[in-house]
């Protein structure tokens, strides 16, 4: 099947195996290896990308189901010549060690900052919750980091959220 994707602003049209996940398409067909494969089952978040601006696990989406949609990967987060504020903050707060979960953490954080509404730890469901450290931890718990860089991750996101 032939599909067209808008990947980091560029339109890409290519034939795909209907079994191919969006993640494998990015990594193996388009050479965008920034998105990582940690589990291939939607359990670790390392493959998180933005699909039409919303964070998704690229390993759980078939590429053919993304025909016509816009994908942003970690390679597309930075603007022209400048890092995204989250990327700067992750470096400054030592929010990673091995770096393998980092692209997913960054895309997940970028998507999360654009989200509205309460989470499981929000006390007042009627009010728009502020992004406290507790809210950030809850909303980022779909992205595992085995190195245990969570303290830096929360500090980095909190700095950008302010």
């Amino acid at each position: 099947m032939e599909i067209t994707l808008r990947v980091n602003g560029d339109e890409r049209t290519l034939p795909v195996d209907p079994r191919t996940s969006l993640l494998d398409l990015l990594r193996e067909r388009l050479g965008l290896t920034g998105s990582k494969k940690g589990c291939d089952h939607g359990q670790c978040g390392a493959c998180t990308v933005l699909l039409e601006g919303r964070r998704v696990n690229a390993c759980l989406l078939l590429a053919v189901a993304c025909d016509g949609l816009a994908v942003t990967t970690v390679e597309g987060l930075a603007g022209d010549g400048a890092l995204h504020p989250l990327q700067e903050a992750f470096i400054a707060h030592d929010a990673f060690q091995c770096g393998y979960c980092t692209p997913g953490q960054l895309c997940s954080a970028a998507g999360m900052l654009a989200e509205r509404g309460p989470s499981a730890v929000t006390e007042d469901l009627a009010a728009e919750p502020g992004l406290t450290a507790g809210e950030i931890r809850e909303r980022m718990s779909g992205n595992l980091c085995r190195c245990g860089a969570y303290q830096g991750i929360v500090a980095a996101i909190a700095e950008v959220a302010r």
Binding site: H41, V74, I91, G134, C145, A149, Y150
Partner: protein
């Protein structure tokens, strides 16, 4: 200093093993044994071979030429015997990942299964004493009269602690990209040591080491599981030769549970005695653990008891049983991590039984020299760590009574444990060269997330007296000067020594310096060299649900000179976070009926998530130790996990009055006690 590869890691430019471009690349997927013990009787690959894109099927129907004396875990498809469920019995190579995976499922393997034995038991009739325990310690030691020490004690504890199978689970699954150029092989592998991996791959394939190159510039974590060559690397090499093309093997998360090592389960009996004043009269630490029928790996869980406390009578012992399981291997702080969990939990029980504060009990039993061997310590600041940690944590406000503090629905408690890890180094080579206004350091070291590239940059800059921006460190390539792997918290001490010496020679020479620290390291000795630390935990337990939360974890460490505070803090905090997982959630459940494990993914093997660790802090004391290495530094990669699980378990007891002696401390185990 920010990580020198930080920009590459946040932009996705940092390439991990199977992310290097390779023309005309193919993909190999393994077929795994469905039985735990027996023989493969037939492999029907006709349907698989006829599927779209399939290039080759590998199996014992056509055994590859591999060295007879190679690690049995790496001698793929040489025999028909099955030693554990999940062992590779065949593999399919195809033009795409999708085609390879589908064809691997179409390979039909039939077996003659035999009755298997996969469960470690304290009374297993085939337990035996290994000749040595990892990496070369005696299995047993005995000093003084333990029976007399226990008999004469005012207070004793006799307790058995159990730890489950644990899996390292680095975020990057083990993966390799292999490519042949004539008789020369290049493997981009996810490994903790390019040189050691190169040597093992070459030996297994029967090649001279010079024909093999391993590249591993970025590694997505390892925690020990990438310290030894794993079957995926050999499979990639065999598949690439069979297909005549470069081949990628990327293990699935599920396959990691089968073929990349794990921490052995342990059953540990501790007998401790002390006099009325709290001075130890005896320590006995007996460990039972497992290995495979293929390879003997004996984790040194009772070894830290030989270092920790002053006692007139000390006995340590390891017993092993060989089961129909995969071979256990290194996982962050092998030995110290499970062993100190049991020892430090038992010390807490002794403190409670003796009515002595657990910090004070440890201070009371501080030794003058290493208890088992008698060597003087090059430096030992456990007491300073305990005191500083107690001050920062607010320990002096603690009421020792268990199970009496309530805040809302929570029972609240605090706990402490000590930690230790050896400070050693191995011989290493390095070069330093002045090139185009820069200073380039070359060494086959590994940065698996530890910050080694950054720390070595700082070490070189300090030795040369130049800004770090003028230094470039090249590592992660077996063609660079030979260096030991990242393991045993020895990486920075080993590599840093060689980098300092190479830079010193560069300063003398003006252009180039070469170093080999073999002689320097052989000349050392005469001291017991260990890092020490103390962890403090606050826990909250909901008695209605058994849920345990850890609002605070605090560690203080004595590790010689800290090279880079930011990197060190991340290492300590990361280790403590993994220790929290060990305490409360991590467990691979052995499948008694079929072998292997019943849980083998991250939905069922729980590792700490962001919401689990609200406040983890690490500090260190100033420690000046001239007996270690040119940097005066002790390794820091492993001590953070040591002690953490005991501190949390001790805090759970303080909160609830319940002693769970069987990790992990799950809601079900707590509810059974309430």
């Amino acid at each position: 200093m920010n990580r020198v590869e930080g920009h590459d890691k946040v932009t996705g430019r940092a390439r991990y093993a199977v992310e290097y471009p390779a023309g005309d690349v193919a993909y190999a997927c393994p077929v795994q044994s469905e039985i735990a013990k027996g023989r493969v009787t037939a492999i029907d690959s006709a349907d698989a071979a006829a599927m779209p894109g399939v290039l080759a099927v590998l199996s014992s129907d056509d055994p590859p030429d591999l060295a007879e004396d190679a690690d049995p875990e790496l001698r793929l498809f040489r025999g028909r015997e099955v030693a554990y469920r999940g062992q590779f019995v065949a593999a399919v190579v195809a033009d795409t990942y999708e085609n390879a995976r589908a064809a691997a499922r179409a390979v039909r393997v039939t077996y003659a299964a035999e009755e298997h034995d996969v469960l470690l038991r304290a009374d297993h009739p085939e337990l035996y004493r290994p000749d040595k325990v990892n990496p070369g310690f005696p299995a047993d030691t005995e000093k003084g009269d333990v029976a007399a020490g226990i008999a004469g004690a005012a207070v004793t504890v006799d307790v058995t602690y159990r730890t489950p199978v644990l899996h390292n689970n680095p975020m990057e699954p083990h993966a390799a990209l292999a490519a042949w150029d004539g008789g020369d092989l290049t493997v981009h592998d996810s490994t903790q040591g390019a040189a050691a991996d190169r040597d093992t791959i070459a030996r297994t394939l029967g090649l001279p080491p010079g024909r093999v190159r391993v590249v591993s510039r970025h590694v997505g974590g390892g925690f020990g599981s990438k310290g030894t060559t794993r079957p995926h690397a050999i499979l990639a090499a065999l598949a690439a030769r069979a297909a005549g093309r470069p081949v990628k093997v990327a293990l699935t998360r599920q396959q990691l549970f089968d073929v990349t090592g794990y921490r052995t389960p342990t059953i540990q009996r501790l007998r401790l005695g002390c006099d009325a004043g709290g001075r130890l009269t005896a320590i006995e630490h007996e460990v039972r653990e497992q290995s495979s029928t293929l390879v003997e790996f004996a984790e040194q869980a009772a070894v830290p008891a030989r270092t920790m406390y002053a006692t007139p009578a000390l006995r340590t012992a390891h017993r092993l049983v060989r089961l129909d399981v995969a071979t256990p291997s290194w996982m962050r702080a092998p030995g110290e991590c499970p062993g100190m969990y049991a020892l430090e939990s038992a010390m807490d029980e002794l403190a409670a039984a003796a009515g002595i504060d657990p910090v004070e009990l440890r201070v009371l039993n501080e030794p003058d020299a290493e208890p088992a061997g008698g060597l003087p310590f090059s430096s030992r600041n456990l007491v300073a760590c305990l005191r500083e940690g107690a001050r920062r944590f607010g320990w002096d406000r603690r009421d020792p009574a268990p199970g009496v503090r309530r805040e809302g629905r929570w029972l609240v408690g605090t706990g402490v444990a000590a930690s230790t890890y050896p400070a050693k180094r191995r011989p290493s080579q390095a070069t330093a060269t002045a090139e185009d206004g820069k200073f380039v350091v070359r060494i086959a070291a590994a940065d698996i997330g530890t910050g080694a590239r950054t720390a070595l940059t700082a070490i070189a800059a300090a030795t040369l007296g130049v800004p770090a921006a003028r230094v470039r460190v090249e590592l992660g390539d077996s063609d660079l000067p030979a260096a030991p792997l990242a393991g045993g918290s020895m990486g920075l001490a080993s590599w840093g020594s060689a980098v300092v010496r190479a830079c010193e020679e560069l300063l003398r020479d003006g252009r180039h310096g070469t170093a080999d620290t073999t002689a320097e390291i052989q000349a050392g000795g005469g001291y017991a060299t260990h890092a020490f630390g103390a962890q403090f935990a606050e826990v909250r337990v909901d008695p209605a649900t058994g849920e345990t939360r850890v609002p605070r974890l605090l560690g203080v460490f004595a590790v010689g000179r800290v090279i880079d505070p930011d990197l060190a803090r991340s290492q300590f905090v990361g280790g403590m976070t993994m220790g929290l997982g060990m305490a409360l959630m991590e467990e691979s459940v052995t499948d008694e009926e079929f072998g292997g494990f019943t849980n083998h993914d991250l939905a069922q093997y729980h590792v700490p998530a962001c919401a689990d660790v609200p406040d983890v802090r690490a500090y260190w004391i100033d420690e000046d130790d001239p007996h270690l290495n040119p940097m005066g530094a002790k390794g820091i990669g492993e001590i953070g996990i040591v002690g953490t699980a005991a501190a949390i378990g001790n805090a759970v007891h303080h909160a609830t009055g319940l002693r769970v002696r069987d990790l992990p401390i799950t809601p079900a185990k707590l509810l059974a006690g309430f």
